[in-house]
């Protein structure tokens, strides 16, 4: 493995100060008949290229809504979202999203599901095989989603999101449903994929340790309506040691901020 894990502050070689993603005073209101629900209010955030930003916040504070808006599935009711300086218009290949659930098509094999993420839909088999290998599902290429474990399904969903070679990877609690051991292993894989592909990642998690292990910055959202409450840069070298005293300091800080 390359030495990027231990080169100081940031984990990604290609970290830059050019903003790749800008959220400017973004609000989202859901309307159902006369009922209105303000999910996000006046949220601003700038993410630079190569960053790993993790969003933390209570259930229902609008984290999924936020990722779906960045992905282009939902439109903000106010404010603007820019990717690479340009306002987004709907979904695009520059952004890949892993949903909170795997959302694989149950009627399609793993290989077919992943190929649907490829721009050429898998006509070039090599790219597909690379992706299968990346997430360790070579032996399950022809399996149907019902034959996969939760972790395998999430890995297939990750491969599908990576298939379009996005600049920004959006992860909605991708490890939420996994057991502790699989989860740790997936964290390592995620780190590797992030570093080797100079990706910019915006992830959602409920796991404080996971946020500290992975992130260059942690954004804490306040509940109802969701807005940025605090931003905490994590200034620890990679790979991060969960038993180090500094790790504990971040833990305390985050717990306090989430109160």
């Amino acid at each position: 493995m390359k030495d990027t894990y231990s080169d100081g502050k940031a984990g990604n070689d290609s970290i830059s100060t050019a903003p790749v993603l800008e959220l400017m005073n973004v609000s989202k209101e859901y309307r159902k008949g006369t009922r209105r629900l303000l999910a996000l209010k006046d949220l601003s955030l700038t993410v630079n290229g190569g960053e790993f930003v993790t969003i933390l916040g209570q259930s229902g504070c609008g984290k999924t809504t936020l990722l779906h808006m960045i992905a282009g599935l939902e439109e903000p009711t106010a404010g603007e979202i820019r990717v690479g300086g340009k306002p987004i218009r709907g979904p695009g290949r520059d952004r890949g999203l892993v949903f909170q659930e795997p959302r694989l098509f149950p009627w399609a094999t793993v290989a077919h599901n992943i190929s649907l993420g490829l721009p050429d839909r898998g006509r070039d088999q090599r790219k597909l095989e690379e992706l299968l290998e990346l997430v360790g599902l070579e032996d399950f290429a022809q399996a149907y989603p019902k034959e996969l474990s939760g972790g395998m399904a999430q890995r297939a969903a990750l491969a599908r999101a990576l298939a379009g070679s996005p600049r920004i990877l959006l992860l909605d609690e991708p490890l939420g449903a996994l057991d502790a051991v699989t989860r740790l292993r997936m964290q390592v894989q995620l780190m590797r994929i992030w570093q080797e592909n100079s990706l910019t990642v915006v992830a959602v998690t409920h796991d404080i340790d996971e946020a500290i292990v992975l992130s260059t910055r942690i954004v804490i959202l306040s509940p109802r309506p969701g807005t940025v409450k605090r931003v905490i840069p994590v200034e620890l070298p990679y790979p991060r040691n969960r038993t180090a005293p500094e790790f504990n300091i971040y833990r305390q800080e985050l717990l306090g901020a989430l109160e």
Partner: protein
């Protein structure tokens, strides 16, 4: 397997009772002896008459069924996609659904004559509604989560159809096609009894006018068995196409 064997018990029992009844001379003249029926069957088959009727009936049902499917599936996709469309035509369809296919036969004979067109229309009519209704249901019930995936992956219209709509609605579509086929088989026999000079339905009517009870029995048995065989075919196809579904 065991269940399939059990299912044979009732038909075998009926045949046995029939045989015993015929041997002991119950209802001679009305009920033919099974031996006579078998002899008539051999005779019909030897003359190639039975095969000819079967061939023409199957051909008609296949033509009518494909006509119905070719209209009902695109119409179902349209109706599912544009809710105003559904609002405009659902009351009409509700009315038509109450009119059994046979009821149209006199009207169709007046308009189309006793030719193939009448039979085709009746068969297609019988198959149309289950296929259409199931197509609409199957498509409108697709999980909106999957539509989001399709938008995210920037599907082309063709991909929406091939990768999402048809496979996601497949369980419902196949159920509709299967039911439609079984409806059209039944409608076909009715149509052939009233407006045909060939086919299994005609064979039944011809046997009646010649008072050939044995041939009527053959007609009924063949109609039922072929219908069953077609339905088994659908079951096999269903199992194959829906192999991705989890077994409960």
């Amino acid at each position: 397997m065991k269940r399939g064997v059990r299912g044979l018990a009732a038909p075998l029992l009926i045949i046995l009772l029939w045989w015993l009844g015929a041997e002991s001379g119950v209802g001679p003249g009305i009920l033919p002896h099974p031996r006579e029926v078998l002899a008539a069957l051999a005779d019909l088959a030897a003359r190639g008459e039975l095969q000819a009727h079967i061939r023409i009936s199957l051909l008609r049902v296949i033509q009518g069924f494909f006509l119905a499917a070719g209209l009902a599936i695109p119409a179902g996709i349209l109706a599912a996609g544009f809710s105003p469309f559904a609002e405009y035509i659902l009351p009409l369809l509700g009315f038509l659904r109450q009119v059994p296919p046979v009821a149209w036969i006199p009207v169709l004979i007046m308009v189309l004559g006793i030719g193939e067109a009448t039979k085709l229309a009746v068969i297609a009519y019988a198959a149309f509604f289950p296929i259409f209704v199931n197509a609409v249901l199957g498509i409108t019930q697709i999980d909106h989560h999957f539509w989001e995936v399709a938008r995210l992956l920037e599907f082309s219209p063709k991909e929406y159809l091939r990768e999402l709509i048809l496979p996601a609605a497949a369980p419902s579509l196949i159920a509709g096609l299967r039911l439609g086929m079984s409806n059209s088989w039944r409608a076909l026999v009715a149509a052939e009894m009233l407006a045909a000079f060939s086919g299994l339905g005609y064979m039944l009517m011809a046997a009646r006018s010649l008072v050939r009870m044995d041939e009527m029995f053959i007609g009924i048995a063949v109609i039922g068995l072929l219908g069953l065989a077609i339905d088994w075919g659908w079951k096999l196809l269903e199992g194959y196409v829906l192999r991705w579904q989890s077994r409960e």
